[in-house]
Symmetry: C2
Subunit: 387 residues, 2 copies
């Protein structure tokens, strides 16, 4: 008998984009100019008010553990935010501050998922979701989606694919990688369907706020029996601070409290105090300016990718991604991404990082670069395609 890696790790793969990222860094060290459109991280710095609040806390030197569920005042702020943003009355007891959305997923699946149980997800979707399920020895049941449902699971798809081992359904709206929304009515029908089936509904809302044409609905508008995962990373511009939150159904509050004590102790204290400054009018105004900038970028990139011959079946309405069909140019999007990086210094994420369904025909562009940089990237892309 030898020390062996746990079996679950066989099914957990590194992100393919990591290989490209590594190569991009090598090229940069060699002096090449690389335009980064692969990274799921806003290029803006953290807003100044949040920085200042973080620095003020550090100044005290008292960076001590907080309660496991988070600072009571931050939990209250978030509950209030649901009232303002969605008209939802939410008991702050149900809000748990977590180390990023990553921590929220750990907590949500840790308290609800038994080994062997299945969670339904769309293919394509964000790759970590499946791996969180594997971590707890659950199984992901992927359902292929396409433009006909806006790349989203619908009530109809859920009902059709639900079976005995199903524990619940995970949806993400706006979606990564497609940037598409689940409309209000569809979200409600999906939740009703899962509730009727007795399952758990996990709603990944980490790109809420970053929507450009209509607002995104929260699962909490339609039911109290849902898990909602959200984060200060994307809309609030706090990626490296590692802070997010989880809202749980009432029956899971005690379990979430116990598990958070054990697996986190608490979420970074300085990040929690800084996050409190996210809800000031000044900060909201700054976030609105950024949102409009992202909208401009989306429109710019969307139109230009179409002009170059990419197909984009659904115009993305949120997040900062465009999931573009590159089948006019290649049947191997990973090699396409690799060559594009090598020859033109433009980094994008290959479809296979998001699943298997038509993955080799897609790449994901992140518009986390300025319009000027994207314009340069598009020029390079055009040259690349004409070779």
């Amino acid at each position: 008998m030898k020390q062996q890696v746990a079996e679950r790790m066989q099914g957990i793969s590194a992100f393919y984009v990591m290989e490209l990222l590594q190569r991009a860094k090598e090229l940069e060290r060699l002096g090449r100019d690389i335009i980064h459109m692969e990274i799921g991280e806003p290029d803006f710095p953290t807003p100044q008010g949040v920085i200042d609040a973080g620095r003020a806390l550090l100044q005290t030197g008292e960076v001590k553990y907080t309660a496991a569920a988070g600072l009571p005042e931050l939990r209250s702020c978030i509950a209030d935010y649901y009232q303002q943003q969605y008209g939802v009355k939410l008991d702050a007891r149900r809000v748990f501050i977590t180390p990023g959305a990553s921590g929220a997923f750990l907590l949500a699946f840790g308290i609800s998922l038994n080994p062997g149980e299945q969670v339904m997800m769309s293919d394509p979707c964000y790759p970590c979701n499946d791996n969180f399920v594997r971590l707890f020895n659950g199984k992901t049941h992927f359902v292929d989606v396409d433009a006909t449902t806006g790349y989203q699971l619908t009530a109809d798809l859920i009902a059709r694919h639900w079976h005995q081992a199903s524990k619940g359904v995970l949806v993400a709206s706006p979606s990564n990688p497609t940037g598409t929304l689940l409309g209000e009515g569809e979200l409600q029908r999906a939740i009703d369907t899962v509730n009727d089936l007795g399952g758990c509904f996990y709603s990944d809302e980490i790109y809420h706020g970053l929507v450009y044409d209509q607002s995104a609905a929260s699962a909490l508008q339609f039911s109290d029996d849902v898990f909602v995962i959200n984060s200060f990373s994307k809309y609030f511009g706090m990626t490296g601070w590692r802070i997010g939150w989880l809202v749980v159904p009432d029956g899971f509050v005690e379990a979430a409290e116990k598990l958070a004590q054990n697996i986190f102790i608490s979420t970074p204290t300085h990040s929690q105090h800084a996050a409190l400054a996210s809800f000031t009018p000044e900060n909201k105004a700054e976030l609105e300016r950024r949102r409009l900038e992202f909208k401009t970028r989306r429109d710019f990139l969307y139109e230009n990718l179409l002009k170059l011959g990419f197909k984009i079946a659904c115009k993305p309405e949120g997040a900062f991604y465009i999931y573009a069909d590159c089948s006019a140019f290649t049947d191997n999007s990973f090699e396409f991404a690799r060559s594009l990086l090598e020859q033109e210094g433009v980094a994008v994420t290959p479809g296979r990082d998001f699943g298997q369904h038509l993955a080799d025909q897609h790449i994901r562009f992140a518009y986390t670069a300025s319009v000027d940089r994207m314009a340069a990237a598009l020029e390079r892309l055009e040259r690349f395609l004409c070779r």
Copy 2:
């Protein structure tokens, strides 16, 4: 079928001390003076150099994701630290920066433990350890320990209790709650035994640095095939920053890299940059001053608890805890702790938070309060015992 809490949560309990903590806060709101000796957190602020480094990073606004395994320069610093501190040559590739020791345990068990496999631990021990194992549907095999082995698992105990389902052994030196060390020779024999059995050796070294009579040996001095969990929380005074590290055997590097990407994305960036300042000569001098203060406190508390009639079978050599036998006064240490808080405003942790073996005869005192405050606590304790 209803939405149900995962089965693993039935075995995961909240810390009993939380009930006392909550009551302590109520009493404080009512104006009572509470002396806190229940909390496993240094009362010192984070050292100024570390604070300054954190503030400097925040000032840039660029609090972005780092590599999943951590900042390369921090991983190198830690590898160098093993060279200086223990004379161990360690490849920085094997060092993973994690969100606290909590994150290190998640990573260690996530990549090594299959459902149903058992991890051997001492009773008493730190309660989260068992719960991390339960999280991954493993089982903890508790082995009762007492003063005859310094409350530690020995090679002999390990060999005697090892069986087919055993996956590995966790030791903590210095131990929480007993503050006892596993001597160099015993540690080596324990590791050899586990390696011979083909098991995983998990060494919890989070109280390293906080030792008062002899230095603590690291498992890495004796084998490369060990998991070492450590943290910036205790010795380095960075609890609320949530940063620790995990060293893995070479064969687990790839798995740790993959899992860290998926379940953390990265460890808080500001905390990583701040932690870099832990290794300056100025900071080391400050930490040494604090260590000497803890030693003074230990001696003061140890002598005075003995005078009051508590039995302390092993004089603690590290951490900041004394695990005191209170059987001269009660056969229910939880009720004892509750009454002590209620009547005299002194908060301590009941033995049952650390296991079942003689738990009702023990309470844990943390000397994370000044000598003056502890002197006041001891006066109150004496009055309490004389009632």
